[in-house]
């Protein structure tokens, strides 16, 4: 079946290398479904945050804390990293493995930059008196944004692992789906951030 298809095209570059084998198609679909589940996961976190957002008590609230310009820069970083990962995939489909690696490294670098900003941000808030236990708002905020941050961290580690493991292998039928799903994951993280930026930060200041 599927194997036979792959066999015909054995070593030549198919138009969608990530979906050229049954294994690749399974990974592709399975990963998307996982993202469907993640949507509900983040939905629950957003709901919790929105439900508890006014539970500030004596602690600092959104308007006291958020630095929109900092967050705006973070958003730009993440958006750009989405673009670099898109370039990586286009290079993959072109059969330009070097290009794939370079653009993926760029993505990782931007991811790390984002994390640095986030850690700085949390550090700042903590010193402005927003501890994890300060108020329900604080707990919900750190949990939502922190879970996103943990996703970014995991993405960085995952992609780095792939890049090191496959630094010399060239594009293969096994690693194409791996890179592709990693990129999907990365885009998804970006999607979530768009909402965090809007719902947490912009509405925190403006709403």
């Amino acid at each position: 079946m599927a194997e036979n298809e792959a066999m015909e095209q054995q070593q030549t570059l198919p138009p969608n290398p990530e979906k050229a084998t049954l294994e690749g198609r399974n990974k592709y679909l399975g990963f998307w479904f996982f993202l469907g589940g993640e949507t509900v996961l983040f939905g629950s976190l957003f709901g919790t945050y929105l439900g508890l957002r006014s539970g500030v008590l004596d602690g600092p609230g959104p308007a006291d804390l958020f630095h929109l310009d900092l967050v705006f820069i973070m958003t730009m970083i993440l958006l750009t990293s989405s673009l670099t990962s898109v370039f990586a995939v286009i290079n993959m489909k072109r059969g330009n493995y070097k290009g794939l690696l370079i653009w993926m490294w760029a993505t990782v670098a931007l991811g790390v930059a984002f994390l640095v900003f986030e850690i700085y941000e949390f550090y700042e808030y903590y010193h402005q008196g927003l501890g994890f236990s300060t108020s329900a708002f604080a707990s919900a905020f750190y949990t939502l944004v922190g879970t996103h941050g943990a996703h970014v961290l995991f993405g960085v580690l995952w992609i780095t692992t792939l890049l090191i493991r496959y630094r010399k292998s060239g594009l293969t039928l096994t690693n194409a789906p791996k890179f592709y799903t990693a990129v999907l994951y990365w885009h998804f993280i970006d999607v979530v951030w768009v909402f965090i930026f809007t719902v947490v930060y912009l509405l925190g200041i403006g709403g």
Partner: protein, 610 residues
């Protein structure tokens, strides 16, 4: 790994490292059966305590632990894994696939479930099990002293992860791995309902994951989500729990519906009536399943508009469920009904489940629910749907598929005794509970006072539970005394679907050649329209198989170690556990493993022997 090497492993290692969906299915069944007996034992202890008013067989605190662990165990560690066992074993066979989409993740899912379940039960031995009910409402749960609730949180988190993985695996398997000709609308109903159940898993479990995460942060890291004094809110937990919890009950019942949709046509010797209506109804139930969760919360004070909307939405589920009931009845209509044990369970299901379903609709009547809620009426409702639906389905499925899974048939006489005793015991136990509830007996009570008219019915209820226990023991005996019933195990019931085209026991590659499917009930079609054999969709050739691996066990083990670290806040343990887990994941990710091939000669030899 070469084929020879793959053949020469010792038995225990073989099971620990297996990625074969059939072995994993059997392990799910074994694990689930163990936890079913455990949950049953807990139920019996509760029923003994409630046999007489103000009885002091167990203390109130112990009773609360029994009750929590009974509910949690039965739902998460018994019913769902047992269904997963059948799904794992049967789905690939029914769709003509050699394996599931992700054999490695499949194994991982099983080990996560098993270790999560064991972790939860460790709590009994280290100072007390969780005691806040299986729903773990905050703030009772977030402020519960001791570590019981921590075990609940982490045990369910680990097990839930396994379930989520399993759900995705089934979805992809069913979409991508069907044999040629097996369109979605030719899939057997068990596969269809498992597919919808897997969708529910995919979208319901993340809500539980977050609920548990919040509860863990609250209990172990000083979170204030549920702490009213800090601006927290306790209703959030209930929503998260029930956004998961209500779909969960359909996750349980849909595969059971699927099992009945296999058994009834087989033993009525008739095609399933209204196949497409059945599929459609299953999808509608799945969809509506997400719209009704707040019917568990009518009394928390959401307001009349919310209550009214959720009441009406809940009632709507009766419609697609009714479609299924009537289609089953019409499947039987005009058939030639054989009263095998498997079919007795299916036939016993119809009236039992309808009784449970209609009390569900009564509960959905929000204004009347203020009387029903949190009383034994609810307990009666859900045991009617769960035991009358899910458990009868599991037992029916066991008798139906046993020959395929284990290569021998269960004894029919013992089986029928088991059925009648169990059914009688079940109705005896739970029928009277409807009245107990309305007569003023709340649920989750460790005892009740005399002189309130509750004595005799509670006594009857306990007697029924004893009857169920006797019945269950008969079943266990049956498993061991029937092992010689080996003849005619490949297709004992004149089956209709693809799984019956394989030899029993099934070879590890399932199908020597992928079958070509030409109609719904593919095997029946070939039997009565063709030459009785499946057409092959491919020439005979080497078969690619995945390698076994110990990594799933290690990943799960790491999480358990880390969980202990979290529960007792031992940082090194957390680091070590997560190290094992992520280390194993790392190994998995960098070590490419392309499996091995079973040579075509080997397959030919099997074919001649079988």
């Amino acid at each position: 790994m070469s084929y020879e090497k793959a053949q020469s492993k010792n038995v225990i290692w073989d099971w620990l490292t297996t990625v074969d969906h059939k072995k994993i299915g059997i392990m799910y069944l074994a694990g689930g059966a163990f936890f079913f007996a455990l949950g049953g034992l807990e139920a019996i202890l509760m029923r003994i305590q409630l046999m007489f008013p103000e009885f002091s067989f167990v203390q109130a605190q112990t009773f609360n632990e029994l009750l929590t662990m009974h509910g949690t165990t039965m739902i998460f560690l018994a019913a769902m894994p047992l269904l997963f066992g059948f799904m794992n074993f049967i789905i690939p066979l029914q769709i003509g696939a050699r394996d599931v989409a992700f054999p490695f993740l499949n194994a991982l899912g099983f080990w996560l479930f098993l270790f999560g379940g064991l972790l939860l039960n460790v709590s009994w031995f280290v100072g007390g099990a969780p005691d806040a009910g299986w729903t773990a409402y905050v703030p009772l749960s977030s402020e519960s002293p001791g570590h019981g609730l921590d075990y609940y949180v982490l045990g369910l988190q680990v097990g839930g992860l396994g379930t989520l993985i399993g759900g995705i695996n089934f979805l992809v398997t069913i979409i991508n791995m069907r044999a040629p000709g097996m369109s979605m609308m030719r899939m057997p109903l068990f596969t269809w309902s498992s597919f919808v159940a897997s969708m529910l898993i995919l979208f319901a479990f993340p809500a539980l994951t977050i609920g548990l995460l919040l509860l863990m942060l609250e209990r172990l890291f000083g979170g204030t989500f549920f702490a009213v004094d800090f601006g927290g809110n306790v209703i959030i937990w209930q929503h998260l729990f029930w956004i998961f919890g209500h779909p969960e009950v359909y996750i349980l019942i849909l595969p059971a519906f699927g099992i009945f949709s296999e058994i009834l046509p087989t033993f009525a010797k008739k095609r399933l009536f209204g196949y497409s209506a059945m599929v459609f109804a299953t999808l509608i139930i799945g969809f509506l399943g997400f719209m009704v969760w707040a019917h568990h919360m009518f009394t928390v004070g959401m307001g009349p508009v919310a209550n009214a909307i959720f009441a009406v939405a809940t009632m709507a589920i009766a419609v697609p469920t009714g479609i299924k009931i009537f289609n089953w009845l019409l499947t039987l209509w005009g058939g030639r009904i054989q009263f095998t044990t498997a079919n007795l369970f299916a036939l016993g299901f119809i009236p039992s489940f309808v009784m449970g379903g209609v009390t569900g609709v009564m509960l959905a009547t929000s204004a009347a629910n203020y009387q029903f809620h949190d009383t034994y009426f609810v307990v009666a409702h859900f045991h009617y749907v769960i035991i009358g639906g899910v458990v009868l389905g599991l037992f029916g499925g066991a008798f139906y598929w046993w020959p395929k899974m284990f290569g021998y048939r269960l004894n029919e006489t013992l089986g029928k005794w088991f059925f009648w005793l169990f059914l009688t015991g079940f109705h005896l136990t739970f029928f009277v509970q409807h009245f107990l509830g309305l007569m003023g007996m709340q649920r989750r009570v460790a005892s009740y006072l005399g002189g309130q008219g509750l004595e005799s019915m509670n006594f009857i209820s306990t007697m029924g539970a004893f009857l169920m226990t006797i019945a269950f023991i008969l079943f266990l005996i049956n498993i061991f005394v029937s092992t010689n019933n080996k003849e005619n195990a490949a297709d004992p019931w004149d089956g209709r679907t693809l799984e019956w085209t394989t030899p029993s026991p099934v070879p590890e590659y399932n199908f020597a050649q992928t079958p070509l499917v030409r109609d719904l009930d593919a095997y029946w079609y070939e039997k009565y329209e063709g030459d009785g054999k499946m057409k092959a969709a491919e020439p005979l050739g080497d078969i690619h198989m995945p390698n076994g691996t110990i990594l799933p066990v290690l990943i799960s083990l790491g999480l358990i170690i880390a969980s202990f670290g979290f529960i007792y806040m031992v940082i090194p343990l957390i680091i070590a556990g997560l190290g094992v887990t992520f280390g194993s994941m790392f190994v998995r990710s960098i070590k490419e493993d392309h499996g091995y091939h079973i040579p075509v000669e080997e397959i030919k030899r099997d074919k001649e022997e079988g």
